[in-house]
Assembly symmetry: C2
Homo-oligomer: 411 residues x 2
Amino acid sequence: MSILKGMRVVEGSAFVAVPLAGMTLAQMGAEVIRFDRLGGGLDAGRLPLAPSGQSLFWAGLNKGKKSIAVDMKAPEGRELITRIVTAPGDDAGLFLTNLRVRGWMDYESLSQHRDDLIMVSLSGDRHGRPQVDYTVNPALGIPDITGPEGYPDPVANALPAWDLIAGNLVVSSLLAAERHRLRRGVGQNVDLSLKDVAAATLGHLGMIGDAVVNEAPRSKSGNALYGAYGQDFLCADGQRVMVIGLTDRQWRGLVEATGIADEISGLEARSGRSLREEGARWDLRHDITAILAPWFAARRLADFAADFDRRGLTWSVFRTVKEAVAQDPDLSTDNAMFRMLHQPGLGTFPVPGMPATFSEAARNAPVAAPVLGEHTEEILSEVAQLDDTEIAGLFDRGVVADHSSLQGRAA
Amino acid sequence: MSILKGMRVVEGSAFVAVPLAGMTLAQMGAEVIRFDRLGGGLDAGRLPLAPSGQSLFWAGLNKGKKSIAVDMKAPEGRELITRIVTAPGDDAGLFLTNLRVRGWMDYESLSQHRDDLIMVSLSGDRHGRPQVDYTVNPALGIPDITGPEGYPDPVANALPAWDLIAGNLVVSSLLAAERHRLRRGVGQNVDLSLKDVAAATLGHLGMIGDAVVNEAPRSKSGNALYGAYGQDFLCADGQRVMVIGLTDRQWRGLVEATGIADEISGLEARSGRSLREEGARWDLRHDITAILAPWFAARRLADFAADFDRRGLTWSVFRTVKEAVAQDPDLSTDNAMFRMLHQPGLGTFPVPGMPATFSEAARNAPVAAPVLGEHTEEILSEVAQLDDTEIAGLFDRGVVADHSSLQGRAA
C-alpha cells in the first residue's frame, strides 16, 4: 500500500513547481487530478519535445495524475472545477495551484463550498508580480557567483533549482496543513512565493549574513567546492573528474591516494597554514590544485578509479546527460527507482519513481502521464458525482472534453 | 499557534540537506533537537564565516533547534542518544539523519526501543558510497549544459541545488510517514539518496527522455531561457536585465513594450516560422536577441523599468548578492518573512523564517541557531527524563557537555 493512499489532491497548475508537487504526491500514492483548459495548460508544449512534437517535459512532471479538460471561461466550467476541488471526502479538499485566478478560484470563494478546504498557492513574488526561476535567480545574485573565476559575466543555472525547491515546499506545506486538519478539523489557505523561497534559502545558506558582515563575500570560484577543497581535473585520457576534500577524512584520503603528502607538507611550511583546516584548504586551493593537476594529467581514469573507490574517496567523473543515461547504472532499471516505460508519442526510456522508499509501503512503480482529458468522464462521474445525462450535456455544450474529442478538435 | 506545534524531531546530521530538513520543521513549529559530538559536527566550521571565525552557514541551517553535545564514542553517550531518539510522546519518535552509522544508530537497533519509530536516512548514493552535491551534479551532466554557448568546459552550480531539494524531500517523507503512523499506528524506516533525488529530477524534467529519444539533446545555452524566449541584455547604464517571453502573453508584452513588432514580423516572414510558437522563439532566439539588443543598449534601466512593471512583464535586473541584500526590499524586514536578528559572534542581519504562510497559524518569527550544547541539560532532563544526579554524573564523566563546559575545553 502506498504511503498516501486514499488522499485526493486537485491541481490547477503549469510549468515546474506545482506540477512537481502534485506528481510527488501522486508518486507517494495520492490520487492527483490536474485540470486544464480545453487546449491544454500553458506548459502543454514545453521543451524538451520528442520527435513527434509531444512534450517530454509535460510527461515528466505530470506522471501518474488524472487529467480533466474544462472550458474555464464558461460559468458551467468554473462551477465544475469548484465542485471537483471541494468534493467531499475526509482525505480530499486539497488544492494546489500556481494559476493567478482572482474571484471564483481563490480561497475565499472555494472555501464557501467546503469550509475545511486546504489550498496551497504558489505565486511569483510576495507582491503578486510575475516572476519565474529565470528572473528570481539573477535578482538574488546567484549568476554573479556562478562560473569560472574571473569570468566577466553572470552565468545562469541550467537547472530550475528554485522551482524544484518551491515545489517540494508546496508538498511539505500541504502535508503540514493536512496534519493540522486531521487533528483540529480546520482547513486553511497557505501562500508562498518563488522569490521568498529563494530569498529564504540564501539566508539559510549563510549568504545574506556573508553579504552583510563581510567586506568581500563569496565570488565566482569555477568548479571548486566552496569553502574547503574540491576541484575538477583533466586526466590523460581526456576524462574529467571531481575530487572532494570537504571533511578531514576526505582530505586525508585524497592526499594519501595521490601520494602528495610531501608536497602538502611543503605547502604548509611555506604558507604557515595547516591544511587540516578546511578554511586553509579553501584559501590555498590554487596551490593544492597545482600540486594535484600533474598527478591527474599523467593518469587515465582507469588507472585510479578502482583505488579511489576502494579507499572510499568522494569523487565522480563528469559526463554529459546522454553519457550518464547510457553509462550510469543509477540512471537505469538496475536502479529499482526506474522503470522502462513505453509512452505513446514519446518513446521508451527509464522513468523514475519516488526517490524515498518507505519500509511500510511498497515501492510504487512510476506511472506515465495522462493524455489531456483522459480522465474527464471518470472524474465527472466519481468525483463531481454527476449522472450520465449531466455528463453528456457537458460534453455536448463543449464545457468539457476528453481525449477523443480533443483529438477531433486538433485535427 | 504553529502548524507543527507539539511535534518533536531528533536530528543527527551535518552539512545542508538534513540540517535544512530539521530547520524547516523547526520553522513550522516542531521541537527539533540536533545532537552533535562534543567538538561539534562535521559542518561546525563550514564557510561562510563571520569575522569572528564563527560559521554563518551553520547558524543559517540550524536556526530554532535545540542543541545537545554528546560523546558518541562512549557507550553511555550512545545509550543517551538512543534514549532521546526513542523517547515517548505521541508526536515524538521522529529521527532524521545523514550520518552513516551502522549498528547502534541504525533503524533495526533504534526501533527496538520504540517500535513506532520513524527514521528518515539520507545517503550519498543507493550503494552507500559517499557522494555530495558537488559530485552528483557532474555525474549526471548538469555542468555540461551550464554556461555560455560554446564554452568548452563544464560549469558547476554555485547553489547546492540537489542538497536543497533532497532536504525538502526529507521533510515531505517524514510528514508522509508520520501521517501514516497517525492513522495506522506503525512507524517505519525511510531511505533516500542524494544521487537518486538528482536522477529522479532529471527524469521529471524530461531530460532522460530527451537524452534517449533525441539525437542532439539540450546543450549549453548561456543565460537564455531554455525552450522558449528569455535572455539577458546590457543597458546603456551598465545594468543587466533578464526578460522573459515564455508564455504567449509574456512574449506579446515584451514585443509591445520594446516596439519591435515590425522586426518580429520581418523575422517571421524570412524564417517562415510563427514566433507565437514557443519552439520557434527558442530556435530563433539569436535573431530575436539581435533585434532586442540595440533597444536595451540605447536605454538606461530607469528608462523602461516602470513601463515594464506597468505592463506586467516578467523581468528582473541582475545583482550581486551584496547588492540584492542592500537594495531589494524582498530581502529585508520590509518582507514579513525576515526579522533583523543580532546573533553574538555573527552580527546583525535579516534572517528568514518559513516562506509559506498558513492562515490558521501565526507567522513564526525566525529564531537564531543554538550554541553547541546550549540545551544539553534541558534535553537530558525533559526528554531523556534523567534526574539531577544522573545528569551531574554524565557531565562529570565527560559524556555530555554544555556551552560553558565546551568553552572551557576550547580555552
